[in-house]
Amino acid sequence: MNTEETDAMRLLDARLARLHADLDTRPGFEARLAAHVATLAEEQAAATQEANRQRIEQAYAAERAAAGREARFDTVILAIAGLTAALAAWRFCPVVLAGLEPLLSRVDPGVVGLAVLPVAAGALWVVLRLFGVDPRRFARP
């Protein structure tokens, strides 16, 4: 390559460098990007919050479902116990009464009435559970 060609190439390089020197983004690129990123960060935070809320709701629903299952199980157990007690009472009542007669004759009828109360409360418990009401909630403040 002779000197003339080398000079010409150097000029071509200079023209190409000038031609491409201003190849850049429009002014304000970084500000636009920062605004875009800020919007995305807000959206991401909102999405995370929503996901957390849904997770808590799902956990609460699962807890309620588990409590419901537990309550139904309790009800069945109590019903079986009640039925067994009723059958036992029906079957053995005359014998028991005959056996208790001497004792009952010495006890005040009011005391017998008081002794019946827990049995009535137990029966009420069973009935409430059958209707899906947890009697324990009446004890909570």
Binding site: A8, D13, R18, L19, D22, F29, E30, R32, V37
Partner: protein, 180 residues
């Protein structure tokens, strides 16, 4: 600079890392996108997309590839996707719209550079040569850096650059204006 950015990423500060990364890589990302897309607006959109992608995935950067290699790979992929999307849009459009899109294919020269004739000659170069010329002259980069940006071997870049310069010089000579 890259070490500083990587340190911020490792400290779990993606916003601070991005604030260093953007000024350091803005021209390079835009230049690479432009060299592929030949459209300033589309290249700027891609540059925005690339930095958003980087911001999102900075926490996952494992340092296996160098930061610049990683950024250039993301930029090339985003640019190629944008190019494919544009071609799909053009092929599905009506002929008049397609013609307009073709007109946009080759973007106008930067407003400050009035060397329209040379710009047209650059635009007429084969794709790879055009990309190499754009990246090499945008910031008078080394062929090594251009090779890294395009993901090509250095010798291939040197060959493309040599051929492009020879072609441009020949074209200017033919037009009676030898690179002057």
């Amino acid at each position: 600079m890259d070490e500083e950015i990587i340190a911020l990423i490792r400290e779990g500060k993606p916003d601070a890392a991005l604030s260093l990364l953007v000024p350091a890589y803005r021209r390079r990302v835009f230049g690479l996108a432009f060299s592929i897309l030949r459209d300033r607006a589309a290249a700027e959109d891609v540059a925005q997309e690339v930095f958003v992608k980087l911001w999102r995935s900075l926490a996952g950067y494992d340092g296996r590839a160098s930061l610049s290699t990683w950024i250039y790979a993301i930029t090339r992929n985003a640019s190629i996707s944008a190019l494919r999307k544009r071609r799909r849009t053009v092929s599905m459009s009506e002929p008049t719209v397609a013609a307009e899109a073709d007109a946009v294919e080759s973007d106008a020269p930067p407003p400050e550079a009035a060397d329209t004739q040379l710009w047209q000659l650059v635009e007429a170069l084969p794709e790879r040569q055009r990309q190499v010329v754009t990246l090499y002259y945008q910031d008078e980069r080394s062929t090594d850096e251009v090779a890294q940006m395009l993901g090509l071997p250095v010798n291939t870049v040197k060959t493309h650059l040599h051929r492009a310069r020879a072609r441009l010089a020949a074209a200017l000579t033919a037009q009676g204006e030898y690179a002057a």
